[in-house]
Symmetry: C2
Subunit: 352 residues, 2 copies
């Protein structure tokens, strides 16, 4: 198995990508190919580890040399078209050509989504691929889809997000019949904007035959208490939701650590309870939940958090290996082509 | 000063409204009129305090008898039209007739918004009144407008939300030039959906002349760190944001308390640091931030949280007195009529 890693993507690249790969390599079976500027990478390897080549650390660590990098300011479609030798475009092409089993990048989100769709291609039957992110929840996890790939969506897109994420949870986490909720501002079916109202009806009508366990509208205030496994929404609303949660998480961590340091007494008193507090902080830290899988394209593409540090890259690399092992994308493709054939048969029966 | 309280509104009414009013009364100067079923209220007063009438607790506590209640399931416009003797409709009419200075209700949100607009009336120049909620932020507070009153909005509405909430923060909290951000999924001005893109342009163009300190797009992940005072958005997105924050807040509180109780050692160890942890929990608890003011109507209307307990009612009542004292609504009305006159003059000059 080969994991392709965009070594130049993200706010902390290439330091964090290199260190993350080195940390992960002895915990996985796959090869990791760092795609990026070989000279820069080797220089960093020398600096961090005193080695002349990354392969001295592990024979399963490799470099694929590229010169260009897609920057955060680049316009996605132009960057994908014109920066042919960028780490991202090369990564997508290697994935497409079977030179790797999964591609991870923390680079420009728009370019990543454009590249995944244009270079890797959509699964037949999927109108809009989208990002499925994993968030912490009470004694469980929560999948949010779409996390931000499609600003404008139609009800059919949300129905497909429900299908895709259900298959994903079943195959990767072994959740038998994942409960799917529609993100909304009230639980009644008449609540919300046009998109949520229409999507509710479509989900209600089609879920059963598509094997989706639709439980109705879900509000954010109940989302983290363990009553729902998947939340579907358009990419704009999903991204607002995701970032609100991240923002409050940051605030919580900062305030908690300052509260405990406020005076010497509580500082001293806090020391013995630090393990418990750290356990808590880990639970609510979205960074502990790794990258988002871009569901709906023909090969596994993982969007790592833009501000990923070495720890998060380590985690995301391990997670990517699991995605490949669990054959999430193969199973998704299979299920979709099955449903597509059924639909074609049905429409032929109707027409004849 | 007279505070009108819908005694029958909210999940925990009338117990929580009565207890909240009793707790608040010695901390405020105003009268509090509990609007609701006198028999039920007196029975509760007897049960809770062993008194025959609420006036025995304080001469500033009164009851205005009504028979009906607007329920959570009621259709807003119909309820406001037909339940003439409901605590909510009676409250609005008393406010309109000058029998009170502010009206607080934790009842049916839709009915409250319909009632405020239909019975109390919009301030001239305001197209859409909306809910301005206060959220915790790092060493500060954050105003979110609209929290959920208007599911569909136009750019002009968001501009007016920016104006209204700026005047509100200046007059009630003394913030000189509140920084206004537009809630979006990226900071660049080209990011977002149609509404945010158009609103960005309108805010950029008009803010200065309207005295609004517009600082651009704001993402949720930076919202709580103290860099912004006001976030404007449509009511759908605002409500998604608000409830995501509430949901994570609930999860944080539950996980933290369980983490600390997990084993005897951390339980014992946690005891001395409890004051710090409680201080922290208070900081991130949205309930510490009281009700949302319905800005854009002619008199002060406060939407208390639907699941308010006695403590939150106590807080909201004290907050409502401050709203009245600070003349937030009068100042808003004045400012809007000024700008309206200027616009009329300008258009006359242009036409002549």
């Amino acid at each position: 198995m080969v994991i392709l890693l965009d070594a130049m993507g993200g706010d902390n690249a290439p330091d964090a990508t290199i260190k993350g790969a080195v940390k992960a390599i002895n915990q996985i079976e796959s090869e990791v190919v760092l795609i990026g500027n070989e000279e820069i990478i080797n220089q960093k390897v020398k600096e961090f580890y005193g080695k002349n080549a990354i392969s001295e650390i592990s024979p399963r660590l490799k470099i694929h040399h590229t010169l260009e990098t897609i920057e955060m300011e680049d316009i996605p479609t132009q960057a994908i078209k014109h920066k042919k030798d960028s780490s991202m475009v090369v990564g997508f092409n290697m994935l497409k050509e079977g030179k790797g089993d999964v591609f991870i990048s923390a680079g420009n989100s728009g370019a990543l989504l454009t590249g995944a769709t244009l270079l890797v291609g959509r699964i037949k039957g999927v109108d809009r691929p989208a990002l499925a992110g994993i968030l912490p929840a009470y004694k469980s996890r929560l999948v949010l889809m779409d996390c931000g790939a499609n600003t404008n969506c139609k009800p059919i897109n949300l129905l497909q997000f429900a299908q895709m994420s259900s298959i994903y949870l079943q195959t990767t986490l072994g959740v038998k019949s994942p409960r799917v909720g529609l993100l909304n501002i009230g639980t009644e079916e008449t609540k919300g904007n046009e998109l949520t109202k229409e999507s509710y009806q479509l989900l209600k009508e089609k879920s059963k035959e598509l094997g989706v366990n639709f439980i109705g509208n879900v509000e954010g205030r109940e989302a983290f208490l363990g009553g729902v496994d998947i939340i579907v929404t358009d990419g704009f609303t999903g991204n607002i939701f995701l970032k609100a949660v991240e923002g409050l998480g940051k605030f919580v961590k900062r305030t908690l650590s300052e509260s405990l340091k406020k005076n010497l007494l509580s500082k001293l008193a806090a020391v013995p309870s630090l393990p418990a507090i750290n356990r808590f902080a880990k639970t609510v830290d979205y960074k502990e939940y790794g990258g988002a899988l871009f569901l709906g394209v023909k090969k596994p593409v993982v969007k790592a958090h833009g501000s990923s540090d070495e720890k998060l890259f380590e985690f995301t690399i391990k997670q990517a290996e699991q995605f490949v092992k669990n054959k999430a994308v193969e199973k998704l493709t299979e299920e979709f082509s099955k449903q597509r054939e059924q639909n074609i048969e049905e429409s032929e029966t109707t027409n004849s």
